[in-house]
């Protein structure tokens, strides 16, 4: 209720603006509506990517052909990677929860450039459409893997151009979102909210914004070079013309490694929010959390060569990248210590988001440790391009960003929808999902260690048992996922009504109604205290 006028303002969901119906959504510049547009798109493409994964795992349940040809398998893992990386996990948390929560958490009415925000979503939809078009036109879908390595990416007859161009457009969307968030935080923090009074989710979005801004253009230009190779035979990566395929890998990973920090930093920010709220305790080591986020973003720029240890780089490059890779793990470890220390002697409220946060810490650490193993040169020679790598990145990306995404979904669900989800089904879904997750990806560490290659359609009989377990894990995971998503949608119809602050959170989003009105605040708050002022 607006305390000045006494009028109950409609929520942003009920608000009647210039347009009606669908157009009131797809022409809206309200950051909250744009966030939901992204949520709808991202969940759709996540379903596509997950189904592709499910089918890939089914193919791998036995050696030899199960349900698809080898060429189809190549196309499947290519699309699975492109969709999951560029259309789900990179936009993921920033586009959905960053868009929805950032302005509210810093006491602003919207982002700095609302129309550019909408343009970001249009570019996102365009980019993914181009990628999907590549599946159904030309001489067959792309089959290079999402990494588009040269020289195959310019020699294959697969339909690379729409896919590559789609990725380029998606990159542009990411850049504009990062730019928007950076300027928003620089210019629109509420009076009294100094940088060091800003909550941690915005801080991680800030670090992420710089990575989006400075790393994405590199892949932009690299993709354009692939287009030039395919269309003009320009020769940058063609060994017959003097080019070096390895230079493609350098350029590609110079973006794609920082990209994983785009994926994980906002996830870490969301986890910080969830843990402080459900521990009813301020974050342990706020300043270290801020500095470690910036450190991850910064050092993360210089480790890309660890994706290329067996490619033929010089010895100097090898040990430089290995050393830097070990260094970048340190700020992540600091975060884990601080999360645990926050929980220690806190007043724990065991809710669904908190379970997701604890699960996150567990799988993130496994993923992180396996990353250190891969970062060791000698071990990498044995493990590169095996299923060990596949396990590593699924633990840390799906486990990391994915778990944080679901945690954030449940944490902010009451705020966004004004309703409460069904806790029982949410927890059942989580347990099923978790069991499925470990069963699906755990065996891959062993399989990879034993030598099973990745991106191979077929495998030796000695790997069969592990694959059976893994594939069954995918079924359990998928059903858990279905329960979680269905529960969140079904709960929209419930009669529950969520208060402004169902969890006892202290950040600004919990001071506005659930769901928030269009302009978030009646009056811009004046901030005098730190973000997690529990006493």
């Amino acid at each position: 209720m607006n305390t000045k006028t006494g009028i109950v303002e409609p929520s942003f969901l009920e608000h009647k603006g210039k347009y009606k119906g669908l157009f009131s959504w797809i022409f809206s510049t309200d950051h909250k509506r744009i966030a939901l547009l992204y949520l709808f798109s991202i969940l759709t493409f996540f379903a596509v990517g997950a189904t592709l994964g499910l089918l890939m795992k089914f193919e791998l349940i036995a050696p030899g052909k199960t349900i698809m040809t080898p060429q189809a398998y190549n196309a499947f893992f290519t699309l699975h990677g492109i969709v999951m990386i560029f259309a789900v996990v990179i936009p993921g948390l920033p586009a959905v929860f960053g868009n929805f929560m950032l302005p509210i958490m810093i006491g602003a009415k919207d982002v700095a450039f609302p129309r550019i925000n909408l343009l970001s979503w249009y570019l996102y939809v365009t980019g993914v459409s181009l990628v999907l078009i590549s599946q159904f036109t030309g001489q067959g879908p792309p089959d290079t893997g999402w990494t588009f390595y040269a020289p195959y990416s310019f020699r294959t007859t697969g339909n690379m151009l729409p896919a590559v161009f789609g990725a380029f457009v998606l990159g542009f969307s990411s850049i504009l979102t990062g730019l928007n968030f950076l300027v928003t935080m620089h210019r629109m923090r509420a009076p009294g909210m100094t940088w060091l009074k800003m909550p941690l989710f915005p801080w991680t979005l800030y670090a992420t914004g710089w990575v989006q801004l400075l790393a994405t253009p590199i892949i932009g230009i690299t993709l354009l070079m692939i287009v030039a190779e395919r269309t003009l035979h320009i020769g940058f990566f063609d060994p017959t013309l003097g080019g070096d395929p390895l230079l493609y890998q350098h350029l590609f990973w110079t973006y794609s490694h920082p990209a994983v920090y785009i994926m994980i930093l906002p996830a870490m920010g969301a986890i910080s929010e969830i843990i402080t709220t459900f521990s009813h305790k301020t974050i342990f080591g706020y300043k270290f959390m801020v500095v470690s986020a910036m450190a991850i973003a910064f050092v993360g720029y210089f480790v890309w060569g660890h994706h290329m240890f067996t490619s033929g780089m010089s010895g100097t490059a090898l040990y430089t990248f290995s050393l830097l890779t070990f260094l970048v793990a340190i700020p992540s470890a600091i975060k884990v210590f601080n999360w645990i220390s926050t929980m220690h002697q806190g007043s724990l409220d065991l809710q669904t988001p908190f379970y997701w946060a604890i699960a996150f810490i567990f799988v993130f650490m496994i993923g992180g440790f396996s990353g250190l193993i891969l970062g060791s040169l000698a071990a990498n020679v044995h493990l590169h391009n095996t299923h060990f790598v596949v396990a590593h990145f699924h633990f840390i990306v799906f486990g990391g960003t994915g778990f944080a995404f679901f945690g954030a979904m449940h944490y902010w669900y009451p705020k966004i929808t004004g309703k409460m989800y069904d806790t029982r089904w949410a927890n059942i879904g989580l347990v099923l999902f978790f069991i499925g997750f470990i069963t699906l990806y755990g065996p891959m560490f062993y399989l990879g260690f034993k030598g099973m290659p990745r991106r191979y359609y077929d495998y030796d009989e000695v790997f069969h048992a592990g694959n059976i377990i893994s594939t069954m894990g995918s079924w359990v995971l998928y059903s858990g996922l279905a329960i979680i998503i269905i529960n969140l949608f079904a709960s929209l119809k419930s009669r529950s009504k969520a208060p402004s602050d169902p969890w006892g959170g202290k950040t600004l989003e919990w001071t506005v109604p659930s769901p928030p009105p269009v302009e978030n605040f009646d009056e811009i708050p004046v901030v005098t205290k730190g973000p997690y002022d529990y006493k």
Partner: protein, 202 residues
């Protein structure tokens, strides 16, 4: 709802946004500079010789054209601040003409190469050796991408010029003019580095 409408304009936010966008452009061309530096290192002799085939005179003239155009657009801001709309329009018109002159020069320069069948993917170029292929590949790609940015810049400046003509940009509200200037200066900056790297490494 508030009954008094809030007129909110944050010029510093607008300018900050433009600077951040310029950073992305710097990194975009930066990727090409990475490629250039590696291939120059590996084909130093061939790059050195191929650079001789570029016309230093046209390159120098183009460099000066862009420097003057940067000057004129900067002066147009001073003109607007001094409420001299006519002078601002003259400066902006000059900037646009200079930009077009640059493109015309480029057209003739490229035409010379095309006449000799030197272009990415041509058989003639492939026969000349890998160093030449890479040099000219980078030459066409980088100056081509740069020319595309000149075109974008000219369109941007054109729009701004029209807005000044219609008094949508005035001495109280000229951040869009500043932003178009920033973009144009960036295009100039890129050329400041392209020029020596292609024309002067003889």
């Amino acid at each position: 709802m508030n009954t008094t409408p809030e007129i909110h304009r944050d010029d510093l936010a607008s300018k900050t946004g433009m600077w951040f966008f310029l950073f992305t452009e710097m990194l975009l061309f930066g990727g090409l500079f990475i490629v250039y530096s590696i291939y120059r290192f590996r084909n130093a002799e061939a790059f050195h010789l191929a650079a001789h085939e570029l016309n230093v005179a046209i390159g120098t003239i183009n460099t000066i054209i862009l420097l003057v155009s940067s000057t004129t657009i900067a002066m147009s801001i001073t003109a607007i601040q001094k409420k001299n709309k006519k002078l601002a329009l003259i400066f902006l018109g000059t900037t646009i003409l200079l930009g077009l002159a640059f493109l015309v020069n480029k057209y003739f320069e490229w035409g010379e190469h095309l006449k000799e069948h030197i272009y990415p993917g041509s058989a003639v170029l492939a026969l000349r050796g890998q160093g030449d292929v890479l040099f000219y590949g980078l030459y066409f790609f980088m100056t081509g991408l740069h020319a595309l940015h000149i075109i974008i810049g000219l369109v941007f400046i054109g729009v701004i010029t029209a807005m000044i003509y219609r008094d949508k940009i005035t001495s109280d509200n000229f951040v869009l003019l500043e932003n178009s200037g920033l973009y144009w200066h960036l295009v100039d900056l890129i050329w400041i580095f392209l020029f020596p790297l292609f024309y002067l490494i003889t």
